[in-house]
């Protein structure tokens, strides 16, 4: 179960997400030639409070679904990594749907701080050429899952 502050998400097997990413990690990360840029920097993910975490994970996963996975999919549609890609995407869809139902009535201040963190990530993404940005963001799913793992309880 994930516990992002007040938001609970049950029914996601984190090891399954890891296994899915493990199979694509090397292939994706080797295509990232901008190694001097990290999108999910420490300022985005470090010292996130519990109450911020629900907003931040919601914004990040929605961005991954609506931008990263959506536009990256054509690259892997025919490849053998497609099943792993689908596992990641479908689990992100599930988590976002659960978060949306939890988020009603959250206090504004946490939303603003979380929003500022997300915008740091999004601004860095926008500064790159789109294909390079998609590859880099997808290659950083291990950083995203590592951060999410801190809110995961067996």
């Amino acid at each position: 179960e994930f516990r992002f502050g007040p938001c609970r998400v049950e029914g996601v097997a984190l090891p399954g997400l890891w296994e899915a990413f493990r199979t694509v990690k090397d292939a994706v990360q080797v295509q990232d030639n901008n190694t001097s840029i990290r999108l999910l920097r420490c300022e985005v993910l470090q010292n996130v409070s519990d109450s911020e975490s629900c907003h931040l994970v919601h914004d990040l996963l929605k961005f991954y679904l609506n931008t990263v996975f959506k536009h990256y999919y054509p690259k892997i549609a025919e490849s053998n990594t497609q099943p792993s890609f689908s596992t990641l995407a479908n689990n992100f869809v599930f988590i976002v749907s659960k978060l949306q139902s939890s988020q009603a009535g959250e206090m504004p201040p946490d939303k603003d701080r979380a929003r500022r963190r997300f915008l740091l990530f999004k601004r860095a993404f926008k500064q790159l050429e789109i294909q390079a940005a998609l590859t880099k963001a997808f290659g950083e799913v291990d950083i995203l899952l590592t951060w999410m793992g801190k809110f995961y309880q067996l």
Binding site: E19, K25, T35, R38
Partner: protein
Amino acid sequence: MKNVLHWNPPENLQGVEVTYTVQYFIYGQKRWLNKPECKNISRTYCDLSDETSDYEHQYYAKVKAIWETNCSKWTETGRFYPFLETQIGPPEIALTTDEKSISIVLTAPDKWKSNPEDCTISMRQIYSNLKYNVSIYNIKSKRMWSQCVTNHTLVLSWLEPKTLYCVQVESFVPGPLRPAQPSQKQCISTLEDPTSALK
């Protein structure tokens, strides 16, 4: 987190004196960095533990061979993420017993230190969701069972008196699969049940 870069010597240079130079890179930063202790070395490994000690960062390393007046291209690693790829050692185990139960106290392993003078950091401080897989063997009945434990104590109850039990423990963190490193088996015998002696 002991992180050592290893490589194989070039195949076609047997008998030729070859030296190697290593550099490393922190993902998201600007420049490749030198490791002075691994410049023009003849061994085929380089300890980058200190350089990769910030386990929340990701790293690359590269090595090139130099021989006579020549030098090879750089050979580069993939992106290395210590936080995910570290192998976590087993905990320390302390066992105490009475007639029908065994108390197990587990102490999380410590982070590897390159300098013994450095302060000790428990792996639990790094992995807050560190857990243990405890396997218990009843030597008499040859029965074995396992339990996943989150905190550091576990009491096994309803055991058979005067019976040898062995315990083996692995540390693990929910997330990507890591090679497990089980502890040594530790054994202890439950005490004799005094009431059975009176019959």
